[in-house]
Amino acid sequence: MSEPASTAATTTYREALREALRDALRADERVFLMGEDVGRYGGSFGVSRGLLDEFGPERIRDAPLSESAFVGAGVGAALGDLRPIVEVMTVNFSMLALDQIVNTAASLSHMSGGQFHVPLVVRMTTGGGRQLAAQHSHSLEAWYAHVPGLRVLAPATIDDARWMLGAALDDPDPVIIFEHGSLYGMEGEPWEESPVRPIDLEHAVVRRAGRDVTLIASSQSVHVALAAAEVLVADGVEAEVVDLRVLRPLDGATIVESVTRTHRAVVVDEGWRSVGLSAEVSARIMEGAFYELDAPVERVCTLEVPLPYPKHLEDAALPQPQRVVDAVHAMGLGG
């Protein structure tokens, strides 16, 4: 909320998210936004600012601090043929609604023999880097990506922030969208006005082509990987960066295809190393490209601590470009 207003030539991740909401609300009267402080406050991270005036309190619905009840109400409203977008302030708070998401939203279609489906979108903030300490900063995307019945999206770019929501609303099943708190203020070129349709909610994409090593990341970590790739240029290393975009279903084919060309992989993930997304990606590489590897897969993850408040400690815990560079050097490239 403190970033300078974007100029006409650029926009922000936050503005892209807001425009996606506005677009969805205009396109279908069944769409509504519900969550803590989405209305009068304007969204705890400012994403929905101004929408209350345009769409009114029925459709920009401030909810009590009852995550389980309002996420569950989103499930029920979806069953009642509305198209709810539920905002949960942070992934840490979403733990209070985990039952409704996992036991009900994700399970209902299968356990009812396909009779019911839950076209629910849940948006939540994830990630660290803002000195918000141990109960507002974690990256628990992998918890959701573990669960059959959910689609899990992690927009890392302004274009994905702009276009993923509308496609998520067209999905008959529950979709979780992770917005990284450090990306809200990210400035960039205006979004593509005429994207390829349908919007792709299946595939990872190569954000930077390279021949020597594949850096696999999602969300904010894509930007860590891209920064590392720039540093590595000076060492004569051309790193490819794969943005996962979709954490479930995970696009193993794009990962394997890239690693088959580069023969080396570093997974960059803001989740913890143990039993997380980086472990899954590493396993997919082992399953699909084992004989292509010239070195063991490296992982750069958040250190296994609850994220601390002081900046120097938080920085030390989170993946940084230099750690990625060091990991690539350790594989015998550059350095």
Binding site: A69, G72, A73, G113, P172
Partner: protein, 323 residues
């Protein structure tokens, strides 16, 4: 149907539920039904008394002790038994079993086996009704154990705040599995607790089907009239153990026997006899019909198909397209 006809229908439905579940216990003992199975024996008056107030447009959310609600809602006995036997012909293709009966056509939203988990869902269904300008009541059944869950408090507040058309119907059978109400909840007056969320909150004798019917009729009328949510506690007792696994060590035989003296079937049959609406022949006919319905349904379920393993992963992702 006349009032007398309704009263007889209530007896018939309670008998059908009782005999269904007695048959389920036999099938369980024979190994044809597995998993967790929770029977409703002793509590039939609540589902029957409540469901008569609803039309096909209304929504029902139930718990894992929902065989009676499913039958009273009109889900065919065949589909219920086929589900219990895990057959494709079951109400959930056999995938849910006893705890997860579903029927989209009859707006029966389960079959929820997370205590308190159905309350937010019911509020959401009611929110959809409100926002779409539809005329639907949502009735959400849950046990008194759910009143200890956060969802109870979160959802009652949310529903009252938004004046949602939902009836929270608490079936207080006094035990959350083996934990007595007074051993787990500081304030045992559940209607009093619900009333603090600014909604009409009543208690009713859950062993008296006509008393339940009158209370639900009135509260559903309030809901339909835009009066916001209501809460109803139906005081009842389960005559059987919590589930087929439960050795029932936490209640005295005397207590169970005392409650069985107020068996809702016996009470209602006696009232009908006293009013001259029921004689031995009529009662025998109800029993004969119920037995024949069950014989047919058990045979149907046994002849049902097991879902091919190749279809195991169907419906994890919906096969339909929206809009």
């Amino acid at each position: 149907m006349s009032a007398n006809g309704h009263a007889l229908a209530h007896l018939r439905d309670m008998v059908r539920i009782r005999r269904l579940e007695e048959r389920c216990i036999e099938l369980y003992s024979a190994g044809e039904i597995r998993g967790f199975m929770h029977v409703y024996i002793g509590e039939e008056a609540i589902a029957v008394g409540a469901m008569q107030a609803l039309g096909p447009e209304d929504n029902v959310v139930a718990t894992y002790r929902e065989h009676g609600h499913a039958l009273a809602r009109g889900i065919p006995t065949r589909a219920i038994l086929a589900e219990m036997l895990g057959r494709v012909e079951g109400s959930s293709r056999g995938r849910g079993g006893s705890m997860h009966l579903f029927d989209a056509q009859r707006r029966f939203f389960g079959g929820n086996a997370i205590v308190g988990g159905g309350l937010p869902l019911a509020a959401g269904l009611a929110l959809a009704t409100r926002m779409r300008g539809e005329d639907r009541a949502t009735v959400c059944f849950f046990g008194e154990g759910a009143a200890a869950e956060g969802e109870f408090h979160e959802t009652l507040n949310l529903a009252a705040l938004w004046r949602l058309p939902v009836l929270f119907l608490c079936e207080n059978n006094l035990y959350a599995m083996g934990t007595a109400l007074e051993r787990s909840q500081a304030q045992t007056d559940l209607a009093l607790r619900a009333s603090t969320y600014a909604m009409p909150a009543w208690s009713v004798d859950g062993m008296d089907v006509e008393a339940v019917a009158r209370a639900v009729d009135e509260q559903v009328a309030t809901i339909r009239g835009g009066g916001g949510p209501c809460f109803l506690e139906a005081k009842t007792y389960r005559f059987r153990a919590h589930s087929m696994y439960d050795p029932d060590l936490y209640r005295s035989k005397e207590e169970i026997a005392r409650w069985k003296q107020r068996d809702p079937l016996d009470l209602h049959a006696a009232a009908l006899r006293a009013a001259g609406l029921l004689d031995d022949d009529a009662f025998a006919a109800i029993e004969t019909d119920a037995a024949a319905e069950l014989d047919d349904a058990v045979a149907y379920a046994r002849q049902g198909q097991l879902e091919p393993v190749e279809e195991l992963e169907r419906f994890v992702v919906s096969e339909r397209v929206l809009r």
